[in-house]
Each structure stands twice: as C-alpha cells, then as structure tokens.
C-alpha cells in the first residue's frame, strides 16, 4: 500500500533546469509510465523517487510522509536499471539474494525466496551461472527477479526493455505486466517507447523539456491529446499534423489546395488526424486530394503516404488496396475525428 507524491519538484544540473515544477500523484498499485524523448527529465524524475538524485526544490513523499532526506537504502524501493546493474562477481542466485542478504534474511529463507522469484521469471535452470554467461534477456530477468524477491513499496523500472531485441521485448513486456499486476506494487516505469507506455500503463505521463505535457490513461492520451507534442509522440505512425489556413468562413486550404473541413475560427491552425481515421475514397466524395509518395504493405493492412507541405501524411488502408507512387489519392475524413491545435502554441482547441 504505497502512494507517491511529487510536489513542486525542480531539478537543476548546474544552470540546466531539467525538471520544472513537477507535480505528480501516483496512486497505490498504479502502473505509471513516464514517457518522453531522451533528455525530457523522465529518468531524472525516477532517480529522484529512488533517492539516487536529490531534487533542487520540492518534496517527495511516500504515503504522505516526506522522504527527501532518506537515502536510496532506506526508501524500500526496487529498481530495474536500463543495463540491469547486475553484480558481475556474483552468480544469479547471489544476485537475486543480495537485497535479502542486506536485510539479514536467514540463508534458508533466502534460498526459498530466490527459488520462488527465479521460478516466476523462468530463471531456475540458470541459478548457478554468472551474469556474463547469460543472454541479454536472461540478464534482464535476473534484474527483474532481484526486484521482486522482496516486497518493496515501489517498483522503479528505467527502460528495462531497451536493450532487448524486438521479439524478446514483446515477451518481456507481457511478463512485466503480468508480474506487476500479480504483485500489486505501485510501479513507475520510464520509457521513450510509446507502445510500451500504451500496453503497460494504467496512466501515462508524457514529458517534454522537464514538464509533464499530459497525464492520463493510455486511451485519453491517444484519443484526446492535449497538444501537438503529445499527439505526435503517441501512436505508430504518429498523428498526421497539417498546417491549415482558414478563411473568415472557416473554409480551409492546406499546401495551397482546398481542404473540405471547417475550422473552428479563421486563421492558421494545425490540423491533426490519425492515419486510421483517413479513408481512401473517390474524387467526388474527397475532402482532400494529393498524390501517393510511397505505398507500403504491412501484412494486415497497407499504408499510403503523401507528402503535404513538407510533412508526411499517412493513411491506413485495407490489406488488398494497391496504389502506385505518383497516383492521385483522394481522402475522406470524419469531422468528429479531427483535432484542431493552435498553430502557434500547439495547444488543443476544445
């Protein structure tokens, strides 16, 4: 039962302001993902929760009790590092048992819990091996086992899957999701991979330049982005963003071509639309016409891309669709599926 509170957190490295007035409440048993590009302050935020960095200002609390002054040893958190942080001179058993050894758990009990944790992540056959004799995926599981061998207040995971290949990542992701749900421990997970964020999180905090741009469930972040940054960061491919000019009647043009949608007000806008919300259609019902820049087969679907105003405009189409490069492409769109952003600030118009 642990809640985490971050109140008015600032972090400076010299004159660089890496985390800016950050406020965050993490509920008990919640799986919160800090998502953002590198350098956005997400890892620093996690390291401050772990006690490995100290905030320049603000307060960190577990269950309402301030823990700023506690070292990482005394916060009862478990952390999985990006490169696992295994102890190279200890075998797998010793690695997993180390947190228990530090807590003076008797040897027999230690062994029992190591076996249990190892079984959970399918490491039992490798207990006697040294870390250097393990594959990347196995090392990652040792790090995971070491963090679950005791019941910490909080799990912290710093891009734990980033060193794995794509296939293994999917398996490990499922494993992490299953484990954290089963153990019911509050988890903070840092990643720059939006798919990890979408699949794992109960809530996602999207960060940029040391600030949280939006926080919400994966559905909210995906379907209701607060600004162009969030919209373009979430989704694969990212949301299409078009620079649009609207006249006094709200009639729009894009890249000098008419665009049959109505803007909320005259002026410059950034129009967002997801690739799956665009539909290939005939010239008559078209809202916007352009030419095919590239066409890709993805197996279960196809992806047509146009180059509009220097930006890629991706359109998801049926698996049997075939288009040639340079061919005309007519697009229809549901007005309810359009996102209007202020062209200057990038903020969503609601």
């Amino acid at each position: 039962m642990t809640t985490i509170q971050l109140r008015k957190i600032d972090k400076y490295y010299g004159s660089v302001h890496v985390v800016k007035d950050l406020n965050l409440e993490i509920a008990d048993r919640e799986f919160l993902v800090l998502l953002g590009p590198s350098g956005c302050g997400k890892t620093t935020t996690m390291r401050m929760i772990a006690g490995l960095e100290h905030p320049s200002a603000g307060e960190i609390a577990f269950d309402g009790d301030r823990i700023n002054e506690l070292g990482p040893q005394d916060r009862d958190v478990a952390m999985v590092f990006q490169n696992y942080g295994l102890y190279p001179h200890m075998n797998v058993t010793q690695n997993i048992a180390y947190p228990l050894k530090l807590r003076g758990v008797p040897v027999a009990e230690r062994q029992r819990r190591v076996n249990e944790a190892a079984a959970r992540v399918e490491l039992t056959p490798y207990l006697a091996r040294m870390p250097r004799e393990l594959s990347g995926g196995q090392r990652q599981r040792v790090a995971l086992a070491r963090s679950i061998v005791r019941q910490p207040k909080v799990f912290l995971m710093d891009e734990p899957l980033s060193n794995l290949d794509a296939k293994l990542r999917v398996v490990a992701r499922a494993q992490i999701k299953h484990l954290t749900q089963e153990l019911g421990v509050t988890t903070v997970y840092v990643t720059h991979d939006q798919i990890e964020a979408m699949t794992l999180a109960s809530r996602v905090a999207v960060m940029q330049d040391g600030e949280i741009r939006q926080i919400g469930t994966p559905e909210q972040i995906y379907n209701d982005p607060a600004d162009t940054f969030v919209a373009s960061f979430i989704g694969s491919p990212a949301m299409n963003l078009l620079s649009v000019q609207a006249d006094a009647h709200g009639r729009c043009t894009c890249d000098g071509r008419p665009l049959a949608v109505t803007a909320p007000a005259p002026g410059a806008w950034t129009l967002g639309v997801r690739c799956e919300d665009l539909r290939l259609c005939s010239a008559e019902e078209s809202a916007f016409s352009t030419e095919v820049y590239t066409f890709e087969l993805l197996g279960d679907c196809t992806m047509a891309t146009a180059l509009v105003d220097g930006r890629m405009l991706a359109v998801k189409a049926g698996k049997d669709t075939r288009l040639k490069t340079g061919a005309p492409m007519h697009l229809a769109v549901d007005p309810d599926r359009l996102y209007w952003f202020d062209a200057g600030s990038g903020l969503r118009h609601r």
């Binding site: 772990a50 070292g71 990482p72 040893q73 952390m79 696992y84 102890y87 001179h89 180390y98 070491r146």
Partner: protein, 291 residues
Amino acid sequence: MQASSTVAQSSIPGYRTPLQERVLQALRQALVLAGISSIVLPILWMMLTAFKLPRDVYSLDSALVFTPTLENLVTIFQHPWNLGSKALNSVLVASGTVLLAVPMATLAAYAFSRLEFRFKKALFLTVIASQFIPGAVVVLPYFLMFKELGMLDTRSALVLINLSIVLPYAVWMIKGFIDAVPIEMEESAMVDGAQRWRVLWEIVVPVALPGIITAAVFSFTLTWNEFLFALILGKQDALTLPLGLIGFRTERGDLWELMAAGGLLITAPMFLLSLLVHRQFIGSLTAGAVR
C-alpha cells in the same frame, strides 16, 4: 597486362616490392632482437655469474660454460654480508607498505572517483604532482624529521617513507579501475539496501580487484627496489636488500659473483610474484576494453 599492373602498383604511394618488404621485415626483427637483448642479457649475465667461482667471473672462456657452484648463495647469508636479515627487512618493509597502502589508496581512489567534494580536482592533481618531486630533494627533510622522532634506522620509518612514494601511484591506478566500474552497479546495490561501506566492500572492491592487485604488486615492487631513502635513513638495523649490494664493493675490489647472487636474491621474488599475478595483471590491463 602484367606490366601495366606493375606500373600501376609501384605508382601507389608507399608501395613496396616483395624484396623490399622482406628486407624491411628483417630489419624490424633485428631491431626488436637488439631491444630484447639489451634487457635480457644483463639479467642472464647476473644469473650465470651468481653460480660462478671468482676465477670464472672475468674469464671469457667460462662466460657460458663453467662449473656451477652454490657457494655464493651461501656466502651472502654469512658474516659480514648477512643478506638474510636484510632480506627480512625488505620483506617486512615492502609487505608493511603494501598492507597499509592498498586499503588507504582504495578508499582515497573511491572518494576521488565517486564522491563530490570541494577542491577535488586540485587535491587529486596535488597527489599526482607529488610524484614529480625527485626523492633527493626531500630526503634531507625526511632525514631530519625522522631524526627528531628518533626513528632513524627503523623499519617503521622506511614503511612511512615508502608509503609516501607508493600511495599516489596506487591512488591513481586504483582510481582508474574504479572509474571503469559502471555506476549502475553501485546504485543498484544502494537501492537494494546497501550502505556506502557495504557497496564499497561487497561491490566495488571485488569488481575492481584486478586493478587493486595490480596496484599492490606495483607498490610492492617499488618498495622492494627502493634504494635512496633506505640508504639515508638506514644504518645497521633497517638495511634492505638493495643496500646489501653496496657491501660487495670492498677494498679487495668488486665481488661480482656475490653481487650477482645478491641480485638474484632481489629479483627472484619479483619473478615469482610476477608469475603468480601474471594472469591477473593481463586481465586488468585489458579490463573494460570489451564489456
């Protein structure tokens, strides 16, 4: 076709014909051989001379072929040479220095590597710079200091003075190895619940052990071979092996065969030590190259 390709090849800058290549190769090998000989031959000469009778030392006929004797190795332990007590002094001084230097250097190196404190850079530079002061410059202050303390001709004085010589080297060497220990390993241990002392003892030291052993061997060698301070501070009780060698320059001339036997006594432990730690040493030199 062939002619044109030869022309093309020889016009490439730096191109050499096979003959030129072979001559160059031979020259290179000769150079390397000369280099190795300049190091190995004196040692070989010393090892042979240690087993020669005085009459064989200067004779070219018996340079390589002679009747070996163990007499020299016995004589050097007898009166008036008494290399036995000097060897004991050397062992005690070198071991004492290493036993003190390694833990101290490890702690200092860890602090310089991982902790943030004021004047850290300046302090570290001072430690390194202290090595550039020639021993001869400070030997007089040391002499006066130990005289005041009543520590002249004691092994403790030699340990202290050697400590001042080897510590900076050891700190610098071990710091390099601790720098190479990934910080995540330490952070991981701290999050697991380890206080800094345990992190240092259970994580950093074992991982940096090859480097620490290297530093220990280096310190031992440095102390074992130290001559100047032992000469100035020692008189009778705290003489070390290198000083023992001067004794063989007598009014009767230089007793080369005894000096060589003494030399053997000095170098043999170093040889054994280097054999013992050879693997560790090589490992530590390449550690961190590939992870």
